[in-house]
Amino acid sequence: MALEHADVLRAAHLARLGLDEGEADRYLDDLGRILEMADQLQSIDTDGVAPLAHPLDATQRLRADEVTEADQRETFQRCAPAVENGLYLVPRVVE
């Protein structure tokens, strides 16, 4: 499945990853060859094979719905780039 310049920009937008046109150009060739390698997977007959998401074939364990952690807002916000009154600051979203 050949990759095009627009595909790289689309993936960058979906990933919220800032790339300029020049960078996208540079990645195009690499990503195309990686996908060419991934295309080898198409040659294997996997009819009737279930996908394996967990190497021990385990399912996600659930815990009791109980509070187990104390409030650590101040501790965790100490490493934030910008906070005010216990809230994370971001550019205005709603005008």
Partner: protein, 486 residues
């Protein structure tokens, strides 16, 4: 002091030959002297290490010392450490002091060990050479013109150079075993879920596993015993008792059935590496083991499957680095999308961006079934290959890497670089344990013998590796560091 194994140092501390403070001061001085050339540490925590050493010495004086009390280690900079920079080798986290300790960090501290600092690594553990760190490449102590392997190259180089007797690494596609092989040390990737991943910055959650890197299998056994076990804070950790991994180390190998995967001895394998590995296998035969060829027929598909699954998981895991709650944030964002895009564009390096893009693309509408779902089906076939092989043999053996350490800057093409992990990656897809032990040299650079076992067979792997180290001296060889020989 710095040439001793962890086990030897423990015995010397117990015998009062030197104190933990003296040992710590000695190693900190070595880091000061040699790490300028090696670049194996991102952060050295000397003051905290000396305070911990004093506490360990006080505990010993009170008769309260355990087998690991007072032993200095290093931690790959992927493990969260409270109040200490945890960068994951990235500009994105250059300003990040973790607010809590990873479970393995807590467990090692509870066992009485102390950390000398955080070791260099490929950014977010993405790499096979340790050239992708924001903090610069790590050099191989055996040859400063060579890579140490990645992504736990800082940990491997620090142990090989005698800056620490042991370190923790993580292995997502071979990142403990390959750098261990390149640097001539012993590195163990445990079974997936054997060691908690809580507080370990996630790259690919269904593949990542922490493990010990040390001089000997015996040292790895002690460390694995300290870090293994169920953790309620990691829902993928396995609820299963932890055996005493040191108990069976001396068991004889008579009757051991070794399988040699024919796919691990084909095209692309360096003749010198093959020769060293085959000589190592001959040692096992002399110890009473039998050897037969086996097949892992889907080996060829492990790298394509990995480079779909791992980037897909990475693109999801790394979405948390958005410039809002921690990490790098761009200047003067115009709106929220601009904040996300520029913070991530500025904070991530080239290889990380490459994998996020691939992962996002293969998970996007129209491509999911063809890439991600198919890769997960192939993953099951790869795992089944191993399970079938372990019906016939006890362990599998082969090279850890097709070549010895390559020159810094020699491997610029990403796809060629990905092929370096041809013998290690399938192990992570299957979730089985593997260990690399020093087994000779090729062109003056170390060669690693990789030994694989079925799920939770760590005790057997450690026994098999330890018996080899009782019969050979490859693990005792040390690199000559220039400043020391001058």
């Amino acid at each position: 002091m710095h040439d001793q194994t962890l086990t030897g140092l423990a015995a010397a501390l117990a015998a009062g030959e030197f104190s933990s403070r003296e040992l710590t001061e000695h190693l900190l001085a070595r880091i000061e002297r040699h790490d300028g050339a090696l670049n194996s540490f991102i952060t050295v925590t000397g003051d905290a290490a000396l305070e911990a050493a004093d506490r360990a010495d006080a505990a010993r004086a009170l008769g309260e010392a355990g087998p690991l009390t007072g032993l200095p280690l290093a931690l790959k900079d992927i493990f969260c450490t409270r109040g200490v920079k945890t960068s994951c080798g990235s500009k994105m986290l250059d300003n990040f002091d973790a607010p809590y300790d990873a479970t393995v960090v807590e467990k090692l501290a509870a066992a009485g060990t102390l950390s000398l600092g955080k070791t260099n690594m490929d950014e977010f553990a993405m790499g096979s050479s340790n050239e992708n760190s924001f903090y610069g490449a790590v050099k191989n102590p055996w040859d400063l013109g060579a890579v140490p392997g990645g992504s736990s190259g800082g940990s491997a180089a620090a142990v090989a150079a005698g800056l620490v007797p042991a370190a923790l690494g993580t292995d997502t596609g071979g990142s403990i075993r390959q750098p261990a092989a390149f640097c001539g040390i012993t590195g163990l990737k445990p079974t997936y879920g054997r060691v908690s991943r809580y507080g370990m910055i996630a790259y690919a959650s269904s593949l990542d596993q922490a493990g010990p890197m040390a001089r000997t299998a015996e040292d790895c056994a002690h460390l694995l015993g300290a870090i293994a076990g169920h953790d309620l804070r990691d829902s993928t950790s396995v609820a299963r008792g932890v055996p005493d991994y040191t108990e069976g180390l001396d068991a004889p190998l008579s009757g051991l059935k070794i399988g040699l995967p024919k796919e691990y001895f084909g095209d692309g394998l360096s003749a010198e590496v093959e020769s060293a590995v085959r000589e190592a296998i001959a040692v096992y035969e002399s110890l009473g083991a039998t050897v037969r060829e086996v097949s892992l027929p889907h080996t060829h598909y492990a790298i394509p499957a990995y480079y779909v699954i791992a980037p897909a998981e990475a693109s999801s895991n790394l979405s948390r680095f958005d410039g809002v709650r921690f990490g790098h944030r761009c200047e003067n964002p115009t709106d929220l999308i601009d904040l996300y895009k520029r913070s991530r564009g500025e904070g991530f390096g080239e290889e990380v961006k490459r994998r996020i893009l691939i992962g996002t693309h293969t998970l996007s509408e129209g491509f999911f079934d063809a890439y991600y779902k198919q890769a997960q089906k192939v993953r099951r076939l790869i795992r089944q290959d191993f399970l079938d092989a372990f019906e016939e043999v006890d362990v599998l053996m082969g090279p850890a890497s097709p070549t010895p350490a390559f020159d810094l800057g020699a491997n610029k093409d990403p796809v060629s670089m990905y092929l370096q992990d041809i013998y290690t990656i399938a192990v992570n897809l299957a979730g089985i344990p593997g260990i690399s032990v020093p087994a000779g040299f090729a062109g003056g650079r170390p060669v690693g013998l990789q030994i694989l076992g079925t799920h939770f067979a760590e005790a057997q792997l450690l026994n098999v590796a330890h018996q080899f180290q009782q019969a050979t001296d490859w693990h005792l060889r040390r690199p000559d560091l220039a400043e020391e020989t001058a």
